[in-house]
């Protein structure tokens, strides 16, 4: 886990391999290539933006079309908020809760909250944006910050990236330096456009996708099966 975020992204996107390590800045790659063990996970999330021009609203970010775009209409920073919500009733076992409270000194709601964080998702691993410098020029973001938290009140910046005339899909890996924090377990993710190319004011983003690891096909099993023998027997269809 010694590699930092940029290198991870570079490895995932061969197109950027040359530019990324040199300048520490991301370029896009024309194809959306994500490893098979990840899946898009923000379909059920609530999406909102800080501002938008009529007709170029938040829906354009998720319509799977590269011809439409979201355009902000206000002061920087421009924000995209993604709030995850799952209507899953959790039954946190009492024993596990007790163990957690003993270990971490948590109590009551905080225990439950602690479990919610870990049980809700496998975690967010990758944010992918589609931006196009050739089309959007000064509207193209140049500096993006990713923030995570439980809600608007306690967002924490977890990653900042610079873009250099990007065209295509820009992969932003959320892995930190700590191997335990490969995934961000969070209820809310905020993508903030801090600056644009050529000092542009408003911004254009054409698509945003959020990826996390697939859940284990065998429920509640700590590790995934890898060999054919095991996978063959692991489920019924």
């Amino acid at each position: 886990m010694e590699s930092d975020g940029e290198e991870e992204a570079a490895a995932a996107t061969p197109g950027t391999a040359g530019a990324a390590p040199a300048a520490g800045r991301l370029k896009g790659c024309p194809e959306l290539s994500v490893e098979g063990d990840m899946r898009e996970m923000a379909k059920t999330a609530a999406w909102s933006v800080s501002s938008c021009k009529p007709g170029n609203g938040v829906a354009s970010l998720r319509d799977d079309s590269l011809d439409t775009y979201w355009q902000s209409d206000g002061a920087q920073p421009h924000l995209v908020n993604i709030q995850f919500q799952k209507k899953v009733q959790l039954q946190v076992s009492r024993r596990a809760a007790a163990a957690a409270s003993a270990r971490f000194g948590l109590d009551g709601w905080r225990v439950i909250f602690f479990f919610l964080l870990n049980l809700l998702f496998g975690g967010i691993q990758l944010v992918v944006l589609y931006v196009d410098f050739k089309l959007d020029e000064s509207y193209t973001p140049s500096k993006i910050s990713i923030r995570a938290g439980d809600g608007f009140h306690n967002l924490k910046e977890i990653k900042t990236v610079d873009l250099l005339k990007p065209v295509g899909w820009v992969h932003i890996s959320l892995s930190g330096t700590d191997p335990r924090e490969t995934f961000i377990h969070t209820f809310m993710l905020q993508i903030a456009v801090l600056a644009n190319h050529l000092n542009g004011r408003d911004t254009h983003v054409r698509q945003i996708k959020i990826y996390g690891p697939r859940p284990n096909p065998v429920p509640h099993q700590p590790f995934h099966f890898t060999s054919r023998e095991c996978i063959m027997y692991s489920t019924i269809r």
């Binding site: 959790l90 691993q125 859940p215 065998v218 590790f223 095991c230 063959m232 489920t235 019924i236």
Partner: protein
């Protein structure tokens, strides 16, 4: 006259007054114009069995204009009588038209000219609105895949046949309630279910689809009692899981009963297809003559599927089979006589019968023998030559055959009428038993005039004697035939029953008892493959399914399971090839789309997979498996609400579809509703108690419910029942880790290593255990191996972090996942 006869439930009686059967409808039509009718009706009063062709004895009647204007009263009375006769003659003419039309409709149906049949039959009904004709029209609509049309014209009809047809239409339109009310009206409990066994079968299906399992089973049983050879009913009973032992169902007693039915003259309903026939020809009495084209022509299209390339051949052959038992004497007796006396070319039908029995021997193993015995071998060559000629003609593009026929008509008819007349005046060997069996297709009609000579009337005596003798020998042959057929059904039924009860090992043993030609058929091989599939032996299942698919590439039934087998085996290329093939065979079959869906699911493109499965559901919502697959895909997309919905749909179709119970269990397990999960896994387990995977999942649910003792027991059971299955071993080790029995867990994992030596997750778990046991070097080693085996990204991070923290104290190390 014709009206009264039409109102009865006997369709056959609409035909007796028709012209002699030696002629094609077109010829008959021609004759009718040639020969004045009043006289004919006197001379040949509706006696269909008249061996002499009435046509041949005709003389021209005095023209009506010749009678004097004034007559004495007696003469006037006579004239009135004559006028009445004339009227009757007109009626007869109408009759003839009706008969002709009916004939044409039937022949169109038989040759799959469905639209033509509909058109003609609509004309027929407009002219002669008898209920039998309406029934015929309904049949045409049903053949033409227009159940709504037949629904419309049959609504409110009371005859049993109409009711059956109406119910079929409702059923096809998915109006189950109405179909049910038609079959057994609510306020008239005494009304019998129409159409006997098939009626009961249909009612059973309705009950089944509306979820009344017990009532459905009762109906199927009743259908089976009425017709012991109704395989479909037994199959349904098996699917419902309530079938009684096949050995009791297809017993000697049944054989005896069948035999009695066979020998009693008034019965033709010995086999399934005849039963369906009965709808329109309920009392095909053994009236020796009326082996009319009607019988064949009423064969529903779906029964002719067995000989795909030769629909009409099959139709003829079927007809022959149908009629053999009750009229055996006639079929057999002429041939020796013919060869003895004259050595003339035999009448056409006999050749057909003989030549085609090969193609149909699969259906009625015993019957062909009957004929084969009596046929002199040398005739075979003749027959083959003729067959070639005929088939050559048959395979002409159908488009040009129609104009050709009409051309032929104008050419042939005069010759025919001439020949008939000359026959009358001449040697007197014109009409014969042979030409009575005018079941011959249009295709053969040109030759009839030339070849129809066979028996002379004088030989009728031998005919009778022969008949008696042959009926006797026939009986014993029939008996062995019935026994053989029942034996075959017994084996198949028992195998199918056991495999529906998921006693797959026993089922496999039974299937192996089948003779090779039967075993090597698509259906049986698919069943064998399915049995291995249920036993979670995918490699064997693949073997048999592949064989089945190679043998009969157009068999679609069971191919959904085959695609799932390939999915489990991770055979992406073969799976996509199979999917392509199935789509090209029939892109409207749910199985093909299931295969396509599985293909995408294997590539983790769950959205596309879901679309394909939904298409399968759309094509046939009564395929439980397609619903289940939809559920699986929703589950993979983490849309549990919808997945539960689809699993429930699957269970609505088939309550014993354990895959759906399992799917529900998995969803509840993920949602941490452990009681629910346990309940659903248990249901699945009760249905398929031999599946080690199901046992394992039940154990996992029990473990989640903290019933570790039960869980361990269940895992033991799973390990015992399938030694090759690594899942229960791994899960057992997990449970043991939870109970802090580390050494036992390690032992179990060692055993697991023997089956799956390259399993990353196993090494990762081992590493954790060594860490707990504080054997740190081994822990690091195990984590290292686990990393080498390419775990997915999610695991990679966990394992790496665990590895780095091996030397840290426990507190920071604790993993929340375990």
């Amino acid at each position: 006259q014709h009206i009264t006869s039409n109102q009865g439930s006997q369709t056959i009686q609409t035909t007796p007054g028709r012209a002699p059967r030696s002629l094609t409808p077109t010829q008959r039509c021609f004759r009718i114009r040639l020969v004045p009718i009043p006289h004919r009706s006197k001379i040949a009063p509706r006696k269909a069995s008249n061996p002499n062709p009435p046509v041949a004895i005709q003389t021209r009647p005095p023209p009506a204009s010749l009678s004097p204007p004034l007559l004495p009263p007696s003469a006037r009375a006579a004239r009135r009588r004559r006028r009445r006769l004339l009227l009757a003659g007109a009626a007869r003419e109408r009759r003839a038209m009706e008969t002709l039309m009916v004939d044409r409709v039937h022949s169109s149906l038989r040759l799959f000219m469905n639209r033509n049949a509909v058109f003609l039959c609509e004309r027929l009904c407009a002219q002669f609105p008898a209920e039998t004709n309406v029934q015929l029209l309904a049949t045409c609509y049903l053949h033409n895949n227009q159940p709504y049309a037949s629904y419309h014209i049959l609504k409110g009809k009371k005859l049993p046949e109409s009711r059956y047809l109406f119910a079929i239409s409702c059923f096809r339109m998915n109006l189950l309630r109405e179909a049910e009310e038609t079959l057994c009206p609510v306020n008239e409990p005494n009304v019998e279910v129409p159409s006997g066994a098939t009626g009961h079968y249909l009612l059973g299906l309705i009950y089944r689809y509306t979820g009344r399992v017990a009532a459905a089973a009762e109906q199927f049983t009743q259908a089976l009692t009425l017709d012991p050879l109704l395989w479909a009913a037994y199959e349904e009973l098996c699917i419902l899981g309530v079938a009684e032992d096949a050995n009791e169902c297809f017993t000697e007693a049944t054989a005896l009963r069948l035999q009695q039915e066979q020998t009693s003259t008034s019965n033709l309903e010995k086999s399934n297809f005849v039963n369906e026939n009965r709808v329109l020809s309920p009392n095909v009495s053994a009236s020796l003559v009326d082996i009319s084209p009607k019988h064949i022509k009423q064969l529903p299209a779906n029964n002719t599927a067995e000989v795909p390339g030769y629909p009409h051949l099959r139709a003829t052959a079927l007809h022959v089979q149908n009629t053999v038992p009750s009229n055996v004497g006639q079929f057999d007796s002429p041939s020796p006589t013919v060869t003895q006396t004259s050595g003339i070319v035999p009448p056409p039908l006999f050749r057909n019968l003989h030549a085609y029995q090969n193609t149909t021997s699969g259906d009625a193993p015993a019957k062909p023998k009957v004929n084969a015995v009596n046929q002199p071998p040398r005739r075979k060559y003749l027959d083959e030559a003729r067959l070639k000629k005929v088939t050559g003609r048959l395979f002409n593009p159908s488009g040009d055959s129609v104009p050709r026929r009409s051309a032929r008509l104008s050419r042939d008819t005069p010759i025919n009428s001439n020949s008939n007349i000359s026959q009358f005046g001449g040697n007197g060997s014109d009409h014969s038993s042979g030409s009575r069996y005018e079941a011959v297709d249009e295709m053969w009609t040109d030759n009839i005039a030339a070849t129809s000579s066979s028996l002379s009337i004088a030989e009728g005596r031998y005919f009778e004697q022969d008949k008696a003798e042959r009926t006797l020998s026939q009986d014993s042959k029939m008996a062995t035939g019935i026994k053989e057929l029942l034996g075959l059904l017994r084996t198949l039924g028992e195998g199918y029953r056991l495999s529906c009860l998921f006693k797959c090992q026993e089922a496999l043993e039974i299937y192996r008892k089948l003779p090779e030609p039967q075993f090597n058929t698509g259906w049986v091989l698919c069943q064998v493959g399915k049995a291995y599939f249920e036993l979670v032996d995918y490699l064997e299942a693949d073997h048999f399914f592949e064989f089945a698919h190679r043998l009969s590439p157009c068999t679609l039934e069971g191919m959904d399971i085959y695609s799932t087998v390939l999915y489990h085996l991770n055979e992406e290329m073969r799976l996509s090839y199979l999917a392509q093939e199935l789509i090209s065979v029939d892109r409207l079959s749910p199985q093909a789309w299931c295969a396509v869906g599985n293909c995408f699911a294997l590539r983790k493109d769950h959205e596309t997979a879901l679309k394909n499965f939904q298409r399968a559901v759309q094509l046939d919502s009564r395929v439980a498996y397609a619903h289940t697959l939809c559920g699986h895909e929703y589950s993979a997309l983490e849309d549990y609400e919808n997945s539960v919905k689809f699993y429930r749909c699957a269970l609505q179709v088939d309550e014993r579809h354990y895959n759906a119970w399992y799917g529900l269990g998995v969803v509840y397990l993920r949602q941490e509703k452990f009681e629910f999960a346990e309940h659903h896994f248990r249901r699945a387990f009760q249905i398929n108690p031999r599946s080690s995977v199901l046992m394992c999942y039940l154990g996992m649910a029990l473990h989640a419910l903290k019933r570790d003792e039960d869980a361990l027991e269940m895992m033991e059971k799973a390990i015992f029942s399938d030694k090759k299955n690594p899942l229960p071993k791994y899960q057992k080790a997990l449970i043991l880790v939870g109970l802090q029995k580390y050494q036992e867990a390690l032992d179990e994992l060692e055993r697991l290593r023997e089956i799956a030596p390259h399993e990353s997750s196993m090494y990762a778990l081992m590493g954790k255990i060594y860490k707990q046991l504080n054997i740190l070097d081994k822990a690091v080693f195990c984590f290292g191996v686990a990393l080498d085996l390419k775990p997915p990204a999610a695991d990679l991070a966990i394992i790496k972090s665990a590895m780095e923290k091996v030397h840290l104290p426990d507190e920071l190390m604790e993993d929340d996942d375990l």
